[in-house]
Subunit: 200 residues, 2 copies
DNA sequence: ACAAGGCTGGACTCCACAGTCCAGTCCGAT
DNA sequence: ATCGGACTGGACTGTGGAGTCCAGCCTTGT
């Protein structure tokens, strides 16, 4: 399936994907046409179809995969460090700061809400992302338990689901209302199970 | 702004909104064209524009308002009864059953993910819905506290945010993965704060 | 009964936008 | 140096779908 790609070609392809991702994040997938992409990435129609023979749909799948990677790599350092005292709070702060800064331009919601429903290929990407993310969090919970910092009777997978859902839900509510408290409060509540807030 | 509407006209308008809502739920907003709506509601283009002079956008706003009403009225009996022992579990079961049955055809996600982002007018509707829903839950928490069934030191508003986010996030994750556990588990965890599971 | 005006049908216009095509240019291997 | 194939530009086509128009029907009030 992979065709011969020179370094130059790979760079162009990458530029298209990244540029399209920016547009999708900013406006939503259905507000982004091939002409917008052309303009934003300094390319021509023929280039778009050269790199993505199946057209717009294939390009959007590539964008989805790209964004899914971004979501994870953004948090990679925090996720790997999850476990020790304070690590959960640090991650929480990073997540909140990230969403506070991006506001409505969120790769995650672009994936789940704009791209996902339409294309089954993209749903798979989203499902994989959630699964990986979930696994990383659950691993962190187990590390905390092994270190004696968290109640060993907790079921790590369930705790991870709960934390992850609080993020997803918090983001949805934040997007709709513009109030970041709807992210902070549920996330804090979900995390309290494993690492009670410092002030308690 | 309201024009004269005879009983017949009101019925037609209502038929259009309800029929469009069905289509949007089934396929997603961007997969529903005016011709689909015509076919599904046995109407003509001119009727569509007669009742919704601003066209598709205005119709979709009406659909959003309609669906928001449905979400609340579906749960009305449970929300009003929130407080007493067992009432939370009953509500939880109803919510889970509802989503299990609808699967991916969910008015709520249609609102938040399909319609919401594009149109600011719809975002307001969604924000109102979330706000009302949040208030109802918080009231239930306070009733439980007043009855001595829940820890009086809990902040009702925060607990309500946490519960609501677990539903939103659970639904998002369920949609993406097809696994309803991602709704059940976080919702149970959020509710455990106020009414510990029967088996505990 | 007979206006007045809400209600309905459906053909028509208009355009945004995905996708095609071909004539070129650049690069890398022999 | 030259040949093949990757790469690029941009004009062109075709179509789906939103919105327009107007002629005719039905209801309601007087």
């Amino acid at each position: 399936m992979t065709r011969a790609l020179t370094a130059k070609g790979a760079a162009t392809r990458q530029r298209i994907v990244a540029g399209t991702a920016d547009l999708v994040r900013a406006r939503g997938a259905d507000q982004v046409g091939l002409d917008d992409i052309r303009a934003a990435t300094a390319t021509s129609k023929s280039q778009l179809f050269h790199y993505f023979p199946d057209g717009r749909a294939e390009l959007l799948r590539a964008v989805a995969a790209h964004e899914a990677g971004e979501v994870l790599s953004d948090q990679q350092p925090f996720l790997d460090g999850l476990g020790p005292a304070g690590s959960w709070q640090a991650w929480r702060d990073a997540v909140v700061a990230k969403y506070q800064e991006q506001g409505v331009h969120c790769p995650l919601s672009a994936l789940t809400t704009q791209l996902g429903p339409a294309d089954p290929g993209i749903r798979v990407i989203v499902a994989d992302l959630l699964d990986t993310w979930h696994t990383r969090i659950a691993d962190g919970v187990r590390r905390a338990q092994a270190a004696g910092l968290a109640d060993p009777s907790l079921e790590a997978d369930k705790v991870a689901s709960s934390i992850l859902a609080s993020i997803q839900g918090g983001v949805v509510m934040m997007q709709a209302t513009g109030n970041i408290e709807f992210l902070k409060v549920p996330l804090d509540a979900a995390l309290a199970v494993i690492e009670p807030p410092a002030g308690a």
